[in-house]
Symmetry: D2
C-alpha cells in the first residue's frame, strides 16, 4: 500500500545527492521532567542522520502512551509547545529517518518510527537504526500467520516478533525478537517505565549512553548528549542490551559473542565532527585522514580547498601536512536549507549555484587541490570541477578522503545500486579522465585504517571495521538482497 | 495510546449537541473511471452521518492500494485534484465517521476508516457502519495471540479476524470473521477487484445497492446514489453478503437467518429526508409522523414552527393535519458551519445566537407549537424555549416526533449514558415542568410504528424495528457493555 | 495592479450564481469591553451580505489602531483568541464584502475594508456599503494631485478626500468628503474615540442603531443586533450622520434634503428574514409577497415547493393563500458550504447535485409550483426545472417573488451586464418557453409595492423605493457607467 | 497603526543576535523571459542582507503590475511555480529586508517592499536599501498636505514625493524626489519598461550592474550576479542614476558631486565573502584583516579557531600570518535555520547549544585564539568563552577583526542604542575583564583601512569610507535622530 507524498518530501540537493546517506538517528531518555523536549533536542542534534521525517513517543502515568510523527525537520515540527504538550511524560524515545528499506517510492507517515505495539502486559515503542537483512522472509512468515503490517518498514518485523513471543516481560520479548533478526541494528525502545537500548552482535551502528541529572539517555552519537548538557558515560557494546529504569542501568549480552565490526564510514562522513567515536573526536580523525591522504598522494599546488562542508576537516589536515595554504574557494549559501525548489526548467540547469558559489577572485589562475570525503556516482564532482574551471583555475586536483566506494551498503545506509557506483566500473585513472581533472587520488584502505587509529593498517584476516562498501566483504550475509539477485564479490574481484 | 487532537475536532454545536449521533456512513464503487471522485461525492451526500473525519481507499492495477484519511468535512478535504490523484483506480471505498466506540477521548487519524490489511493472498480494506458489541472480548483474545492493533476502533477486530482466518479467499475470510462478530454492522469492503457489502443478520443499519453505468455502487443511503446519478436497485437484505466484480453481483447469506430489526430512528432523524427507506421517502414518513403527532396530541395555537432543520417535515405534517399555519419562527444562520469557535467567555453565553435567531416580529404575542424530532438531554429544548419566550410568545407547546428516548443505543449511535437521558429519569409531566413549557407531548411508540407504515402499530411480541432506545428491548445482547456494568431493563420497567 | 488570488476565492455556487449579490455589510461598536469580539459576531450575522472577505479595525488607548483582514468567512477567520487579541480595544468597526466595484478580476487583501488613513489630527477607519457612482472621476482627479491609491476600491476615494480636506475634525472632513461623493452609501467609521454612521441622502442601503449595555452599535441589519442581544433603537435616517461617543449620539443632516428611496430588493432577497425593515419582519413581508403572487397568478397544482432557501417564505405565503399544500420537494445539502470544489471535469457536470437533491418519491407524478425569489440569467431555473422533471413531476409552474429583473444595479449590488439579464431581452412568455416550464409568472411591481405595505401600489410620479433593477428608473445618475457607455432607459422603453 | 505579528517573525538567534544587521538587499532585472524567477534567485543570493521578509513586483504587457510579498525566506516563499505565476513578465524588482526604520515593533506585510504607486503617467515600484535620515520631517509634511501613508517605512516617502512631483516622466519624478531625501540609499525601481538604479551621493550602500544575455541586472552584491550566471559589468557610482531599457543603459548624475564614503563594515561583515567589492573578493579582504590583526596583536597559542561562520576568513588569515594551526573548535549545527523555537523555559537556558557545539576532544588543554568579526553588546562573546572553558581550554584569547563598535549606524543598519554598545562604555581592558578572557584585542582603524587596501591607513582629514560606527564621524547629519535626542560626538571624545 504505497502512497503519493512526493510533494512533501525534501527535494534532492544539487550536491548532497551524491553522498551515501545514513538512514536513521535514535534517541531515548528516562527520568526527566519533560522527556519530549529532551528528545526533540537530541533529535535536532542527530538531524544529519535523517532529514525526511521524525517521531517521538512518550509515556505519562496519567495520559498513557502518546506519539507525534511528522515529515520534515525537528526544528520545524517538534519545538512548539502545542506539539510537545501532546507527548507528555518522563520517558520518551525518538527517531529521525532519511528513507526506508521498505517502500521504494515515497514514505508515508505510518512508516515514520518509533513503532508502537500493545501487548498483553502493556505497550512498547521501538526506534531502529540499521537494516534487517532478512526482513523479507520474516515479513512473509508473519503475514502468513496473521500479522497485519501497518508500514513498509523492515523495522516493523521486530514489533510483530515481540507480539508473538511467549516472553513474560517486554525486554524478554525484545531479546527473543532480536535473536531472529539478522543485519545491523541499534535499537532504542521503551515500555511504560523502562528505557531499553541494544546493538547487534557486530555493533555496526553506533549507540552511546549518557547521564542527565538523575535520568539516563541513549543516543546515536555523543553530539546529542552535548546539546542537552548530558554527561557521556560510554558506548553501548556490540551485542549488549541495556534495560534502564529509575533504579539504574542493567546490562545483558543476549546474543552469541562476535568480533566488533563498526562501520568505518561513520568516521569518514556519517557522524558529526564534534561527536566522539572510539575515544577521539571525529573531527581529529578526519584531519588525520587528510594528513594521511597528503602523505600518500602529494601534489604541487597553490591552494587546498574543501568541498563544503564535509570535506573541510580533511582539507585542513591536507593543508597542515603539505604546507599548502588552506582557503575557502567554494562558498556555501547558508540559507539553502533543504526545501529550495528550483523555480523553472530553465533555471534548474543553473541549479548548483543555488547552494554553492566559487570565490572567483581567489581561484583565478591558481592550481587548486579540492578535498572531498567520497565519490559515489561522481555527478557532483564533475559539477564542482566545472565551476572551478569556469572561475579560471589553472589546475584542479581531486583528493578523496575515503577509498573508492565500489559496493553498496545493506546495513542501514542508502546507496545506489552497484552499477551506479563510479568505482564499481572504473579504475582510478578512468575516473580521473571521466571527471576531467588534472589528477584524482583516493586514500588507500590501509591509509584509512591508519587514520582511524590502526597503526598497522587493515588486518585482512580479521578487519576491525565493516568496510564492505570499499572491500565488498560483507560481515553479515545480505539474505534479502541475495534473494533479489545481488551478486556477492567473487574470488576474482 | 490516546492522543490530543481536541483542537482539530469540530466544536460542540450549541444545538446539535443534544441529538443522538449516527456514527458512520459507508460507500463503495467498482467499475468506474475514477473511483475516488465518485466515493468523495457519495461521502459528501452521507456527511450528515459523520462529520469528524473521512477516508478513502482505492486500488489501481499499476499503483496498488492507496489511501487518504483526513479530519474534517469531505468538501474541505477530498475535492481537490491533488488529493484525489493520490488515490487512483477504478475501485474504491470510503467512510465518514462521527466518533468511535473505542477511544473515549479524541480520535486519532489512525482510527479513521477504511482499515487496510495485507494478507497472503493480497490486500483488503473495510469500512464499517455500526458497532460490534463483543469487541472488547475479541480484542483481548487477538492481542493475547500476537495481533497488533493500530487503532482504538472496534471495527479493527474484523481485519485481524480476517488475517487469522484459514479461508482461501478474502470473501471467505470476511464471512468467517463476521460470523464471530456480534452487534450491528453494515460493512463495505474491497479487494483488488471485488467490492463487497454485508449487513448483519438483523439488518440494523442500512445499506443499498445502485448501478452507475457499467459499475456498481454500495451506500448507506439512496441520497448518495442520487448525487452521482446512479440508479437505485435495491436494499441489501439483512444477513446478506454481496460480492461484486465487473461480471456482476453475487449474493450470499452466510449467517443464521433472523427476523429483520431495522433501526427505527433512521426514519426519525438519522437518514436524510430525500433518501428512500422501505420504498418511501424519509420526508414523507416524517410528515406522517407530524400528522400522527397532531392526531395524538392536538392543541389550540396560532403557529406551528419547526426547530430547524430536523423538525421541519414533522412540523409541516402537524400543520397540514391540524390546520394551524406553518411558519419559520426560528431562523438558522446558514454560515454557522461546524467550526465556529465562540470568541470569549462572556460571548460564549450568548452562544445559541450564533446559530439560531428567533423571528421576533412574527412570534410576539402568539401561541406557538414547536415541533422537534427528539429530546435527549433536554438542554437544547430549554434554550429554545427561552429564546421564544424572550421574543414575546404567549404560549409555547413542544411536540416531539419520537417517543421519549430512555435507553442508550449500542448499535453504532452515540448516546449519552442512561442517567443523562431526560426520559430515563422523568415522566412526561416532569419533563414539561423541567423545560418550563405550557405543554410537552411525545408521539407514542405505536403512533411512530403507524407513521412508518405499520397500520396496526407495534407488535410487542415481534417488533419489526429495533426500538431499544425507546423500549429498552435490545435485540442483540450488548456483551461489552454488560461487562462494564450496564444494567438491562428489568421486568418491572 | 491586479493580483492572481483566484484560488483563494469562493468557487461559484451551482445555484447561488444566478442571484443578485449584495456587496457588503457594515458594523461598528463603541463602549464595550472587547470591541473586536462584538464586531466579529455582528459580521457573522451579516455574512449573507458578503462572503468573500472581512476586516476589523479597532483602537486601543495603549496599542493604537490595529487591523485584521482576511479572505473567507468570519467564523473561519475572526473567532480564535489569537486573531482577536491582535485587535484590542473598546471601539471597532468591521466589514464583510462580496466583491468590489473596482477590480474586475480577483480581489486582493488590500481591497478588503475597513480602510485606514492617518491624518494630521489622528487616524480614522471607514467601512462602506454601497457604491460611489462618480468614483472614476474622483480617482483620476486625486491621482493627478498626488494621492497614491492602495486599492482598486471606489470606497478608497472617501479616505483620500478626507486627507485633502481642510476640516479640523475627522467628522468635519468626512462630511466634506461625502458631499463630493455621488451614489449610494451607508458608511460606518471610527476615530480613536468616535463611532460615526452615515447614510446617503436617498437612504438606498440600510443602517440601524442599537444599544448594548452602555455602548452603542451600528449595523446594516437588525439581525446583527439580535446576535449580541443589543436593543434595536431605530434606523439611521436617509441623509443623517450620527457621531457617537461615550456621551451619547449626536445627529446631523449634512446633505441637501431628499425623498427616501430605499432599495426594494432588500425586502425581496438581500436582508435576512429575521431582520426588521420598516417596522416589520422581512419574513412576513416575503410571506406577503407569496400571498400577493398567489392572488395575481393562481394555478391548479398539487404541491407548492420553495427553491431553497430564499424562496421559502414566499412559498409558504403562496401555500397559505392558495390552500395548496406546502412541501420540501428540493432538499439542500447542509454541508455544502461555499468551498466545495468540483473534483473533475466529468463530475462537474453533475454539479448541481452537490448542493440540491430532488425528493423523488414526493415529486413523482405531481403538479408542482416552484416559488423562487427572482430570475436573473435564468441558468439556475433551467437546471432546477430539469431536476424536477427528471424526478417525474407531471407539471412545473414557476412563480417568482419579484418583477422581471431587467436593469443592472449601480448602487452596491453585483449584477450582470444588462444583456445577460433574461428579462432584458425576453417577454414573460418567451422566458417561459426558454425555461421550458408549463407556466412562469412574476409578481407585478404594483403587487410588490402592496406586499411591502404600500396599499395603493407604486406611485409612478414619486416611487417610495429604488426599484431601478425592475423599472430602469435610476434615482442617482450613474456617472461612471454612462462614461463607459451604459445607455439609460429611453422614453420608448 | 501597528500590528501584532510577532509569532510570524524569525526568533532571535542565540548568537547572531549580537551582530549589526544589514537591513536590506535589492535586485532588479529587465529583458529576460521570466523576470520573477531571476529576481527570486537574486534575492536568495542576497538573503544574508535580510531574512525577515521579501517582495517581488513585476510588469507584464498584458497583465500589468503584480506583486507578491511574504514573511520568511526566499526559498520558502518564492520558488513554487504557483507563486511565481502570479508575478509574470519580462521586468521585475525585488527586496529582502531585516527590519524597518519605521515601526519599532513588528513588521506588517504592508511594510514589505517594493512599494508601488500609480501616477498619472503610469505605475512605478521602488525597492530601497539604506535609510532616509530626514524621513520623519518629510512624512509630517506629506501627511499635512493630504498624502495617506500605508506603511511605517521611511522608504514610502520616496513614492509620495514622486506622486507630488510635477515631473513628466517617472525618472524625472524620481530624481526630484531623491534630491529631497537625505541619508543613504541604493534604490532599484521600475516602470512598465524601465529599470532604474540610483545610489546616494556618498555611495554608502553598494549597488552593482550586470548583464544577463540581452538583459540587464542591478543588485546589491556581485554574488547575486553569480547565482544567475550574469556578467559583472561595474559598480553603480556614488550619486549615479542609471535608466535601463531594452536599448541599453543611460547614466545620469543628478546630485551635487561628493566624495565617496562607502560603508567599511560591508567589507568586515555585511557582504558575502564571495562578492567582489572594489575589485577584490571580500574573502581575501577578510583574510587580510586576519593577517593585519595577527601582526598588530600576536599571542602565543596552540590553535586559531573561528567563531562560525563569519569569523572564518579572518581566522584563516590570522593562522597563515602567525603560523599557529587553524582548527574548527566550534561546530555549527547546519540544521539550525532561523525558525527554531526553544521548547520550554528550562531548555531555553541551554539555548546556544541548539546552534553551536564545542569540539571538546580538540579543545581540551589547549590555548585557543578565537577570531570573531566584531563585538557589539558582547553577550555572545561571553557565552562562547563559557563553552570553550567548559570544554577544558587552557587559555582563551579573543581577536576581533574590526575596531571597537562604539557608535550606532543611521544609514540602513540595525544597531543597538549607543549605551548598549560595549565599546561605548568600556575600554579594551575593561571589555577583556568583562568577558573574562585571557586577552582581547581589536584591529585598529588604521589596520582595517590597510587591510581594505589603503596602504597608508586612514586619512583623518578625508577618510575614504564611512566608518561612523567606529569613529563617531557621521558623513550625513542624522536629522531625525538628532530631533529625537541623539547626541553627536563632541570634540572631547
Amino acid at each position: 500500500m504505497s502512497n503519493v507524498l512526493k510533494r512533501q518530501m525534501p527535494p534532492a540537493h544539487p550536491f548532497d545527492d551524491d553522498k551515501l546517506k545514513e538512514e536513521c538517528g535514535v534517541f531515548g531518555v528516562v527520568g526527566v521532567a519533560n522527556a519530549a523536549s529532551v528528545v526533540a533536542l537530541g533529535l535536532h542534534a542527530l538531524q544529519h542522520r535523517g532529514q525526511e521525517a521524525g517521531g517521538i513517543v512518550t509515556h505519562d502515568p496519567e495520559q498513557g502512551f502518546n506519539s507525534a510523527r511528522r515529515f520534515g525537520l525537528v526544528r520545524d515540527n517538534f519545538t512548539d509547545e502545542d506539539t510537545l504538550a501532546t507527548v507528555p511524560g518522563p520517558i520518551g524515545i525518538g527517531h529521525v529517518r532519511y528513507s526506508t528499506a521498505g517502500s521504494k517510492g515515497a514514505t508515508q507517515i505510518r512508516d515514520v518510527q518509533p513503532f508502537f505495539g500493545e501487548f498483553s502486559m502493556g505497550g512498547a515503542a521501538i526506534a531502529h537504526n540499521g537494516n534487517i537483512t532478512n526482513a523479507m522472509a520474516l515479513r512473509r512468515e508473519l503475514i502468513e500467520r496473521g500479522s497485519i503490517f501497518q508500514s513498509s518498514s523492515d523495522s516493523e518485523c521486530i514489533i510483530h516478533l515481540m507480539a508473538r513471543s511467549m516472553g513474560r516481560s517486554i525486554p524478554d520479548r525484545m531479546e527473543e525478537a532480536l535473536r531472529k533478526v539478522e543485519g545491523a541494528f541499534s535499537v532504542v525502545a521503551m515500555t511504560r517505565t523502562k528505557l531499553i537500548g541494544c546493538r547487534d552482535p557486530l555493533g555496526v551502528r553506533p549507540l552511546v549512553l549518557g547521564q542527565l541529572g538523575d535520568g539516563w539517555v541513549l543516543a546515536s552519537e555523543t553530539c546529542a548528549l552535548d546539546i542537552i548538557n548530558a554527561k557521556f558515560i560510554r558506548e553501548i557494546e556490540p551485542g549488549e542490551m541495556v534495560v534502564i529504569t529509575e533504579k539504574g542501568v542493567e546490562s545483558n549480552h543476549p546474543f552469541r559473542p562476535a568480533k566488533s565490526r563498526f562501520c568505518i564510514f561513520e568516521h569518514v562522513y556519517f557522524s558529526r565532527p564534534d561527536s566522539i567515536l572510539g575515544g577521539r573526536s571525529v573531527y581529529e580523525t578526519r584531519e588525520n585522514i587528510g594528513r594521511e591522504l597528503a602523505k600518500e598522494n602529494p601534489v604541487d599546488a597553490d591552494l587546498v580547498c574543501p568541498v563544503p562542508d564535509s570535506g573541510t576537516p580533511a582539507a585542513i589536515g591536507y593543508s597542515l601536512q603539505s604546507g599548502i595554504p588552506y582557503a575557502m574557494g567554494i562558498i556555501r549559501n547558508q540559507y539553502m536549507g533543504r526545501t529550495f525548489i528550483e523555480p523553472t526548467e530553465s533555471i534548474r540547469n543553473m541549479g548548483v549555484r543555488l547552494k554553492l558559489n566559487v570565490n572567483r577572485a581567489l581561484i583565478e589562475g591558481k592550481r587548486v587541490i579540492l578535498v572531498d570525503d567520497s565519490v559515489v556516482r561522481g555527478t557532483t564532482s564533475r559539477k564542482i570541477k566545472d565551476m572551478i574551471l569556469d572561475a579560471g583555475a589553472a589546475e584542479v586536483h581531486f583528493r578523496i578522503a575515503s577509498p573508492p566506494t565500489a559496493w553498496p551498503c545493506f546495513y542501514g545506509v542508502d546507496t545506489p545500486q552497484r552499477e551506479k557506483l563510479l568505482a564499481a566500473t572504473m579504475s582510478e585513472d578512468e575516473m580521473r579522465d571521466h571527471l576531467g581533472v588534472d589528477s584524482l587520488k583516493f586514500i588507500s584502505l590501509n591509509g584509512l585504517y591508519r587514520a582511524v587509529g590502526e597503526a598497522k593498517g587493515r588486518d585482512a584476516s580479521a578487519p576491525k571495521y565493516c568496510d564492505a562498501c570499499f572491500s565488498g566483504e560483507y560481515p553479515v550475509k545480505p539474505a534479502d538482497m541475495l534473494e533479489q539477485g545481488f551478486e556477492m564479490k567473487t574470488a576474482a574481484e
